[in-house]
């Protein structure tokens, strides 16, 4: 629904256009940037088109009353939703800060090191690169969204330096991005809070399913990266 009008941009140059059209606040649990940047003109056209289509289709199908109610009332739902998530966000931001202060990030990074050496064979001897990567992964695992992005950016820069500053992504850089686009979070607190708010008796009962899904998706991503990504310069 969203992607159709912009598809050519993805094909042409997702990175440049993607920044303009789709950059927005990446939601909670991974609170990466503190500014809401809801895309450029593309997003605006899309939203205008959807509201216009809703009005026309609502009038056609006789649901105009419901459309009007939604147009009036949904903003309060959004505010209520933010309020509901406010507690969760504060709690886990606080816990994350305590975990970081205790050096728990460093422990997990040490645990992850052997796996990362397997995944990034060309960078394994470069101490700085491996450290940056493992810190980013740890932050992701613990749901330290604020910390994960700057660490990931640092890892990307280190990977670029280690790969010889090429204009295109090296195999390691591509794999690193793929791993970051798969979800690594252990506790999906945002989702659980929303389920709790809608009356779920055990909002975290989805946990094993979430882990299985995240794990399979990550595995597929790593395998696909090993197939699709070529060694730079070849």
């Amino acid at each position: 629904m969203y992607s159709l009008p912009y598809y050519p941009f993805f094909v042409k140059d997702i990175f440049r256009q993607g920044c303009v059209f789709f950059s927005e606040y990446p939601f909670i649990g991974r609170n990466r940037l503190s500014q809401t940047r809801l895309g450029g003109g593309g997003t605006g056209y899309f939203l205008a088109a959807v509201t216009a289509a809703s009005l026309i289709y609502g009038a056609y199908s006789g649901n105009l009353q419901a459309v009007s109610a939604a147009a009036l009332g949904e903003c309060s739902h959004a505010a209520a939703l933010s309020l509901e998530l406010l507690g969760t966000l504060c709690l886990w931001s606080g816990i994350s800060a305590v975990a970081e202060e205790c050096g728990m990030t460093a422990w997990t990074a040490r645990l992850l090191a052997p796996v990362l050496k397997l995944l990034f064979p060309t960078a394994r001897r470069d101490e700085k690169v491996m450290k940056a990567i493992s810190m980013n992964m740890t932050a992701n695992l613990l749901g330290l969204g604020n910390a994960a992005t700057p660490l990931g950016i640092k890892a990307m820069k280190e990977l670029k330096r280690a790969g010889g500053n090429l204009p295109s992504a090296t195999k390691d850089m591509a794999l690193f991005v793929v791993i970051n686009t798969a979800s690594l979070q252990i506790l999906p607190t945002t989702v659980a809070t929303l389920r709790l708010g809608e009356g779920s008796p055990a909002p975290m009962d989805i946990l094993p399913a979430v882990w299985l899904t995240g794990g399979l998706s990550l595995l597929a991503g790593i395998l696909a990266a090993k197939i699709f990504c070529r060694e730079a310069g070849s």
Partner: protein, 175 residues
């Protein structure tokens, strides 16, 4: 001792583990927590405007029946994949827009309930996947890299696998 699941254990255990470590290491738990928690306040404030806009638009589309039309159109394809048609728009929205997906998820929960098959698949999908295009744009942008070297197709493969896996996982654990 009564039976409990991993889901009941995970959250309290995580909190106890972190707090105990802080106590053992003699860190100032209270003030460090408060400093961190303040960040949550700023984050929520920055997301609210986007949520107001996106939930209004999605709510209007849903109320008009437009979204139902889309779902019905996607149903045959979804069925072939063994995926609930109501959740399919969420799967398409998820890699593109984080707050859009969240707004849609909330609307969906209201409609189908949290304990339904559809509600669970949506929750698992939200928890087990990421805002792919955003993440890729930030990282490649920061590294000033023009060509992704296959990262986007690979990341989308991961998203597709996650989508299929979310339906399978709910089947596996809840039926």
């Amino acid at each position: 001792m009564t039976a409990f699941g991993v889901g009941d254990l995970a959250v309290p255990l995580a909190i106890v583990l972190v707090f105990l470590t802080a106590a053992i290491r003699k860190k100032d738990l209270f003030s460090v927590f408060l400093t961190g928690a303040k960040e949550g306040l700023a984050t929520t404030a920055s997301v609210l405007p986007a949520l107001v806009l996106l939930m209004t638009v999605i709510g209007m589309a849903r109320a008009s029946g437009l979204l139902g039309l889309l779902t019905a159109a996607a149903a045959p394809l979804a069925e072939r994949l063994g995926f609930p048609a109501e959740v399919l728009p969420l799967a398409l929205l998820r890699p593109l827009s984080g707050s859009g997906a969240l707004a849609f998820f909330e609307e969906l929960l209201k409609e189908v309930g949290t304990e339904s098959y559809e509600g669970r698949v949506a929750a698992v999908l939200m928890g087990g996947t990421e805002t792919t295009f955003y993440t890729a744009a930030v990282y490649f942008g920061a590294a000033e890299v023009r060509k992704g070297n296959g990262a986007i197709p690979a990341a989308l493969t991961a998203d597709f696998a996650g989508t299929v896996a979310s339906a399978l996982a709910v089947h596996l654990f809840f039926r």
